[in-house]
Amino acid sequence: MALVTPDIGLIIWQLIVFLIVLFILRAFVWRPILSALKTREFQIEDSLRAAEHAQEEMKQIKADNEYLLQEARIERDAILKEARDEASHIIERAKAETSDITSKMIQDAREAIEVEKKAALSEVKALVASLSLEIAEKVLREKLSDDKSQKALVEKFIKDVKVN
């Protein structure tokens, strides 16, 4: 069968042509194309990885910010609380101090009043004594004629004393 009989001439030509094509394409086409494809694939992969990395970083930064904010908020709350405590403490202390002072003042006043009262009383006592002496002296001096006038005189003096 001619159809399935290999022809040596055609085999030689095919070998020559195919090998020439193979070597030309290998040197000037396949190698640059494959390396270009590889480089581009690496580039794409790198860019993707970089993008992912950036996203990750962004997330990290965001988380950091959030954390800082949270921290700041907590600190602010703490400061506020402290200030409030301090304020209430001061008020408390002031209140306590004031009440102490007032009570002391009241006490002092009371004591002063007591002293004054005692002084006044002793004065009154002294006055009463001197008045009594005066009355007695007057009574004795006028040499009372009758009892009736003596009595009226005494009553009159007593009235005067009451007024005082």
């Binding site: 055609l10 085999i11 030689i12 095919q14 030309i24 000037f28 086409v29 396949w30 190698r31 494809l37």
Partner: protein, 344 residues
Amino acid sequence: MLKRSNFLTINKFLAIILLVMPGLVWAGGGSGKDGEDEQFDPSELINHHISDSHVWEITHGIVVHLPVIVYSEEKGLDIFSSANFFGEHEEVKPYNGYVMDHDHITLESGGHVFDISITKNVLFLFIDALILILVFSAVARGYKKNAGKAPKGIQSFFEPIIVFVRDDIARDNIGHKYERFMPFLLTVFFFIWFGNLLGLLPGAANMTGNISVTLTLAVITLIITLFSGRKTYWLHIVDPLGKSMPWAGKLLLYIILWPVEIIGIFTKPFSLMIRLFANITAGHILILSIISLAFIFESLTIGVVGALFATVMNMLELFVAVLQAYVFTLLSALYFGQAVQEHH
């Protein structure tokens, strides 16, 4: 560098040629029938088309006489046009001591000649090679021009195919050592694909459906396989049973197994050779047979139906063209993969 619009135009042009091809063949055959009032012989027409020839008959009446290059011990090297074998009325005649019988050249004395002529298939080999180099240098220029950018034009058409050959054919079947086989796999894939497509053009040679061409490709695959064979590959052939039984028992089995393994080395490329040859030749025979029906029955109706059917077959052949290129490349990659695999 082809621009996108040009590329589309070429696609359209090719599509038109492929669509009208059955018609052209029909017209060619028809005029032949009218001219010479002979009995129409489809098997001769088909055989003439699918075999190699010293003349390139583009269509009936348009003939290119190709150069004959012959060497014989008696007459040495001779180069002349094959037109010398034809007389004024297209009859075959001897020339300068050589005779040509059905495209087979011998000496008039009956001696053997070594025929390395530029036949129709050799011419199409050159055309295929030229197209490959032109197309892919354009593609390669695209990579230089658009370095680091998205592919453009013809580059973007071939890039997915190149990536497919790399990822799905080479890397999947060979493993991490695939890179050194890439030039061969890509070349063989596009060589066969373009050759198959060229063969579908009207008046073209059945180049990739020729046993010599497929034999050469298969032998190259075999040689690469054998030369890249690793310890595991040879061990698998010499000692296929491994440590599964004592050596005395193995020796008995190996009397049968060794021949099988050694034959196995050659049956793989043999199947490559036969598969490509048979698929492409069968496609050509099928289309030509359908068209020949019109002349066998001498009916216009069958002619029209046949032409339509042949068009459908042509579409199928377009698919077969790329499928067979894929299969050849895939199986080659598979054999390379077996050759370079590590012990596991």
